[in-house]
């Protein structure tokens, strides 16, 4: 028994054992997934489009349930029966926050202030506490000037800030994020990474689905690499990712790219989003 083993100092927050998930049409989204997340750990789920990262996040968030295999959250099994129970569900929802990829789906309230208040209100906080939460989380994320605005009156980057703020408003222990950097310009990306570091320092756990190779080593300690057949290729420390190009090619996240520069042909692994330069000489322009 793991719990009686004195060598295990910290119980995992999440533990997945042989998890398989199928869509309604029978297509496999996750195939035999097993890994664990420790408290305070920052885990990146890395993989090509359609490998099952988002589905896995939803399973971890108790929004979908696997076809087979076990999922444990905070030492208890995450089953439909437990999360249909309003009391146990409230305890779980309080501890787990979810920043969705589509901010328009996440921001469903008439104003930003209503959006920030939604979680705290549904947790049963008093009016004064809700107000306190709203103003302090708005200050933390720099969106005080947006409080009275409607979600459709703010930009994509601002929406992302509001989405993060409304997730933080319930003060979750674990924050699940789906492609958080995808819609952000470089300056907003830096801001987000700084905020995530601050939150990590106070002990928050992060599980982040991403295909952004550039930021993955900054947002994660551990990287779970997915294959396109919906299985796990490797679980490794983020620091070892750079030296593992072969693995990334193998899971189709980067590919051996055929380049044509004038008459020179050359081939090299080419990560999407990774800037690279070529030192070939530009051939003279040809007239047709």
């Amino acid at each position: 028994m793991a719990s009686s083993d004195p060598s295990v100092a910290v119980l995992p927050l999440f533990k997945l054992t042989d998890v398989t998930f199928r869509y309604a049409d029978g297509q496999v989204a996750l195939n035999g997934i097993s890994f664990a997340v420790r408290p305070g750990e920052r885990v990146a789920l890395l993989g090509a489009n359609g490998c099952g990262k988002s589905t896995l996040l939803k399973i971890l968030g108790g929004l979908q349930y696997p076809a087979s295999g076990q999922v444990e959250g905070f030492g208890e099994p995450l089953t439909a029966a437990r999360l249909d129970n309003e009391e146990t569900a409230q305890i779980f929802r309080r501890r787990v926050g979810f920043v969705f990829q589509n901010s328009d789906a996440q921001l469903f309230s008439p104003t930003v202030a209503d959006e920030l208040a939604f979680g705290p209100v549904h947790m049963g906080l008093s009016a004064a506490e809700v107000e306190e939460r709203v103003s302090s989380v708005a200050a933390l994320t720099g969106i005080e000037h947006l409080l009275a605005r409607a979600p459709f009156q703010i930009s994509g980057g601002e929406k992302k800030r509001v989405a993060l703020a409304c997730t933080l408003a319930t003060n979750p222990d674990v924050i699940l994020m789906d492609e958080p950097t995808a819609a952000l310009d470089p300056r907003a990306q830096t801001w987000l990474l700084d905020l995530l570091l601050k939150l990590h320092d106070v002990g928050k756990t992060f599980i982040i689905a991403t295909h952004d190779l550039e930021t993955v080593s900054q947002i994660a300690d551990t990287v779970v690499v997915f294959r396109e057949d919906h299985t796990i290729a490797a679980v490794l420390p983020a620091s070892q990712l750079e030296s593992n190009m072969k693995l990334l090619v193998q899971v189709n996240l980067v590919h051996d790219h055929l380049h044509r520069h004038g008459s020179t042909l050359h081939s090299h692994p080419h990560g999407h989003g990774v800037e690279h330069t070529h030192d070939h000489e530009e051939p003279p322009h040809q007239e047709v």
Binding site: S109, P110, F152
Partner: protein
């Protein structure tokens, strides 16, 4: 099909609302059991979808375009109860933000468009579809037939609601108090427009959307795979629908069948009607006077009376059967043709192996690297494609209205400082005062008040009046203008236009015309001023504190939120279509595009719904709407509401005693 305020009597509005309340209540209860915690997001997205496609333009015969109402479609996709709530919510937002349909007439508009239309449409769809499979062509055809019958039944009910106004509500001199024309005009004109123009467009689009959804593998409502349990239920449902359908179909028939009483309406009958309605016994002086002169104000109804009298009932029913069966034949042929052209389309769509494009050296097909600027330069997607242009223009202006709704609401001004609940209550009182008024002076006072209040709140008076003029008389202008002439309002000639046949503008006609226009303008002004001076979220809070059920307020809030998302999506779709349009688009092709476009939008709406459900669940939503406490009323607010009440009572009483 939207009825504005001021053309139906307040009692008709109240009666329609009273009919709708138990319907809404039943629908909400049914949906709570079937949808559970998903109820709010599913209905909000469904309503937003409904609102968005009501802004689409579909090419209709004769070069015109029509707006789909989509009630039947929603019933087929999400179920009739969801359709009732979805269309009701969509028209509530149309009334509040776009001046489309009245606030007091909301119950009547809900009854026709959100109840009669989807229920009748769905019942006919179930009857025609029978037990056919989810993917069958018969089901798509049934959807077309259902929506055609649904929209025409709803249109004729609108005709009945309008047409009974002059029968029930006339002033002492015999002039109609509200809508001026009788059933003999309203029912045929509503039916003609919908049988010939809007109906066919609606039917084709509905059938196409259903076909599109069938191809995506979507399970239509009531087509669950658990056939046995469901069939029993559906049979029970079916009999219920047939019952409702029969009731609805018979109710206008009943009214017309009583036509001999209406048609030969004399002073004695008027006394009876007035006694029934008001409890007082008197004969309008004007009525008696007119009758003495040999004038029968309602004699035009006599034709109807004869055709509706007991002797002609079999003939009437026979004509009805003939009409319906000819419609069925036309739709069947249309459906066949549609199916064929769709199949032809598919054959063209299959990749032809013999035509594999030759590749240029860069990996691009050769045709892609050649310029075609010469051919394209003289072609454009210009005025030739009204459905694209109009839809885009309306989507853009709709988005703009939604986005800029708060422009004046966030300024500092008198109305903006009031508690929104006090403001909402006050404007509602003024709106009712305007709707029951028959005095030019009272209506003028109310319009002046609206202008002064706008001025004091930093809302440009010009903008207010333009909105009032644009939304009110489009509907009323067409009806009211004939009212000025002697054939509709006999009386003292003001200007004689023609001697034989005699046509003149009469004094009575001009005053009836002015009264109708002013009443509609005053009611619209109140609603417009309220929404222009109040941010949307505060209006929602005001509804909540005035004890509007919180689930309904939450539904309005989320619907409005996702209207902005779906309008943008639809705008993108039509812009993309326009950018790829070279030359004139044939009507059939345009309808196919709109049909498929609605299908695509619905699929996107479903996907978004799932995401919203997940996002709400993740933040602790379990199906119960919770809100933060509301703001309190200050002395200023109490003063405002007191003034409004006193003014309203003074105006109403003044009119009563003076007139």
């Amino acid at each position: 099909m939207h009825i504005p305020d001021g053309v139906l009597s307040p009692s008709t509005c109240a009666a329609a609302a009273a009919v709708m309340v138990p319907i809404w209540w039943t629908a909400a209860r049914k949906l709570k059991t079937t949808l559970g915690a998903k109820q709010l997001p599913v209905l909000a997205l469904g309503s937003a979808f409904c609102f968005t496609i009501m802004m689409f333009n579909v090419p209709a015969p004769g070069g015109t375009t029509a707006h789909p109402v989509a009630g039947t479609l929603l019933a087929i996709l999400l179920g009739p109860w969801a359709a009732i709530i979805g269309v009701s919510t969509a028209i509530a937002i149309q009334a509040l933000f776009f001046g489309d349909g009245g606030v007091l007439a909301y119950g009547a508009n809900s009854f026709t468009m959100a109840f009669v239309l989807p229920m009748v449409g769905y019942a006919v769809y179930r009857l025609v579809a029978g037990k056919s499979s989810n993917a069958s062509n018969r089901r798509a055809l049934a959807a077309g037939v259902g929506s055609f019958v649904g929209i025409n039944t709803a249109a004729s009910i609108v005709g009945v609601l309008l047409g009974i106004q002059p029968l029930l509500f006339r002033d002492a001199s015999g002039h109609p108090l509200y809508f001026p024309f009788g059933l003999n005009i309203t029912v045929p004109s509503m039916l003609a427009a919908h049988l010939l123009l809007a109906g066919p467009a609606e039917a084709i689009v509905t059938a196409m959307v259903v076909r599109y959804m069938q191809r995506t593998g979507y399970t239509l409502y009531g087509c669950a795979t658990e056939a046995t349990a469901d069939q029993n239920r559906s049979r029970r449902w079916e009999s219920l629908w047939v019952g409702i359908l029969a009731m609805i179909a018979l109710s206008p028939l009943g009214l017309i069948a009583q036509g001999d009483a209406f048609g030969e309406w004399n002073a004695e009958d008027i006394r009876k009607v007035i006694f029934k309605v008001t409890g007082q016994s008197f004969v309008p002086k004007g009525m008696a006077h007119l009758q003495a002169m040999g004038y029968h104000p309602l004699s035009i109804l006599q034709d109807y009376a004869q055709s509706g009298s007991s002797a002609n009932v079999p003939g009437y029913i026979g004509a009805g059967i003939l009409g319906v069966s000819s419609i069925l034949v036309v739709v069947t042929i249309l459906g066949r043709r549609l199916t064929k052209s769709e199949q032809a389309h598919y054959v063209h769509g299959e990749p032809n192996p013999s035509l594999t494009p030759s590749q240029s050296s860069g990996g691009l097909p050769i045709w892609l690297s050649a310029s075609n600027s010469d051919e394209a330069s003289h072609l454009s997607a210009g005025k030739n494609n009204p459905f694209l242009q109009r839809t885009l223009a309306e989507l853009t202006s709709g988005t703009a209205t939604a986005l800029r709704a708060d422009r004046w609401a966030n300024q500092s001004g008198y109305l903006q400082t009031l508690n929104p609940a006090a403001k909402l209550a006050g404007f509602l009182v003024l709106l009712i005062t305007a709707a029951v008024s028959h005095s030019l002076a009272v209506l003028a006072v109310l319009l002046i008040f609206a202008n002064v209040a706008a001025y004091a709140s930093g809302i440009p008076v010009g903008v207010l009046n333009r909105r009032v003029l644009l939304s009110a008389p489009l509907f009323v202008g067409g009806i009211a203008i004939p009212l000025m002439f002697s054939f509709a309002s006999p009386g003292h000639p003001l200007v004689v236009l023609w001697h034989s046949p005699y046509v003149a503008v009469t004094t009575e006609g001009v005053s009836a015309f002015t009264l109708l226009i002013l009443r509609v303008a005053a009611t619209v002004a109140m609603a417009v001023l309220l929404t222009m001076s109040t941010p949307w979220h505060k209006l929602l809070a005001a509804m909540r504190s005035l004890k509007v059920p919180s689930i309904f307020v939450a539904l309005m809030a989320m619907t409005y939120r996702y209207i902005t998302v779906l309008l943008q999506t639809a705008d993108d779709m039509f812009t993309a279509r326009k950018s790829r349009t070279v030359g004139r688009v044939r009507d059939a092709e345009a309808r196919r595009f709109v049909g498929n476009g609605i299908g695509v939008l619905f699929s996107k709406t479903l996907a978004l719904t799932d995401e919203v459900v997940a996002a709400m669940t993740a933040r602790g939503y379990t199906g119960e709407v919770k809100v933060v406490a509301q703001s309190v009323w200050q002395r200023k607010d109490k003063l405002w509401i007191a003034c409004i009440f006193i003014t309203a009572i003074a105006l109403t009483l003044g009119e009563h005693y003076h007139g």
